[in-house]
Subunit: 205 residues, 2 copies
Amino acid sequence: MRKGEETRAKILDAAEISVLAKGFGGTSIDELIAETGITKSGFFYHFRDKNELAKALLERYVENDERIYDEIFSRARELADDPLQAFLLGLKLLSELLSDLPNGHPGCLVAVVCSHERAFDRDIQEINRQAALMWRRRFGAMFRDIMRVYRPREPLDVDQLADMVSTVIEGGIILSKALKEPKNLPEQLLVFRTFVRLLFQPSAA
Amino acid sequence: MRKGEETRAKILDAAEISVLAKGFGGTSIDELIAETGITKSGFFYHFRDKNELAKALLERYVENDERIYDEIFSRARELADDPLQAFLLGLKLLSELLSDLPNGHPGCLVAVVCSHERAFDRDIQEINRQAALMWRRRFGAMFRDIMRVYRPREPLDVDQLADMVSTVIEGGIILSKALKEPKNLPEQLLVFRTFVRLLFQPSAA
DNA sequence: GCCGTTTCCCTACCGTTGGTACAGTTTCCG
DNA sequence: CGGAAACTGTACCAACGGTAGGGAAACGGC
């Protein structure tokens, strides 16, 4: 059992790098088995077909993503008592984390799936949807906490505000890649941070 | 010459729909020639290979994109004298336009290219970069106009602010697709609009 | 109404890729 | 030691991107 999971992980590692660089269509199984040092039969022992590889890949990616958010925002919550300050700190920590990636963010699998839509079955699209909903719940809860203490200067829907976090991250990844400016994503996050600060700043003190 | 361009356009039309739905890898030439009612030789008469199809597709897409932005924001500029009001109106017009698409935004080719990076040559990546830079210049000019009249409540880099427009649109497209909520993109645009209004609202009047 | 260019069609072929089938073998663990 | 898990090897298939080359309509200009 241990050995199997190890090989599986190696395949997924190679697949993730390739898929984020070349898309699913551009990632060949032959390439993956060469990278992993496995045979074709070995590959199909672990994954029935490419779709199942995609599914496992996306599941693992989303889990890992959630873990990173958990770490960053729970740490921010420890360092700041105030929910607004904690959130603003979390955004800053996230921005710094993204800034430290030497080649910029490698890309988001959720976005890759979105730009391949019809190529995947409903299972995968549902995982994708659930991932986006988890982000909404996560950041929505934070904004609700904030609104218990602060009144926004403009009335905004909490879910839409929560989605804005994901929007800025996903959009930032794309713009960073298009412009070939890795710093763009962390910068955009900080611009959004400024907007949030502005929104909850007490008006006319 | 006329006939040739017509066929070419038909191929590009079919390709655009398919690529936005299934990605480049998922779009087969056989499928395109079936859709267009052309033969394989006919296809390769128009495009040397798939990469050149991608290039032509992206070029056409970016041009069309620019035209839409031109129309919307020049109309907004006609309707409002004030640069801030014109920009806010432009965002609203854009949001309404996106709202009227029954199946939501079909997807952005610039984003598709970003999630396929290494699969394309430098030509295509350069077109993509130039497109993002054109967006930056376009919205940057608008924010500069605004700042000649209004003082932002928080100091923000103009280019970063301009990039935020593209970020929100690209990110909104992805989130709309992931969540299968077409209204998400126009909503996110309006949230961003609120942020911009807040940023340039005279403080403590 | 002829001529050349543009715009295709037809046929045949090639290497790569995703995937199937299935028999045999090694590795691990209880 | 035995049996399950984790593979290997070989052979095969259809779909796809792409090449090669020989035609044939259709169109425009003169």
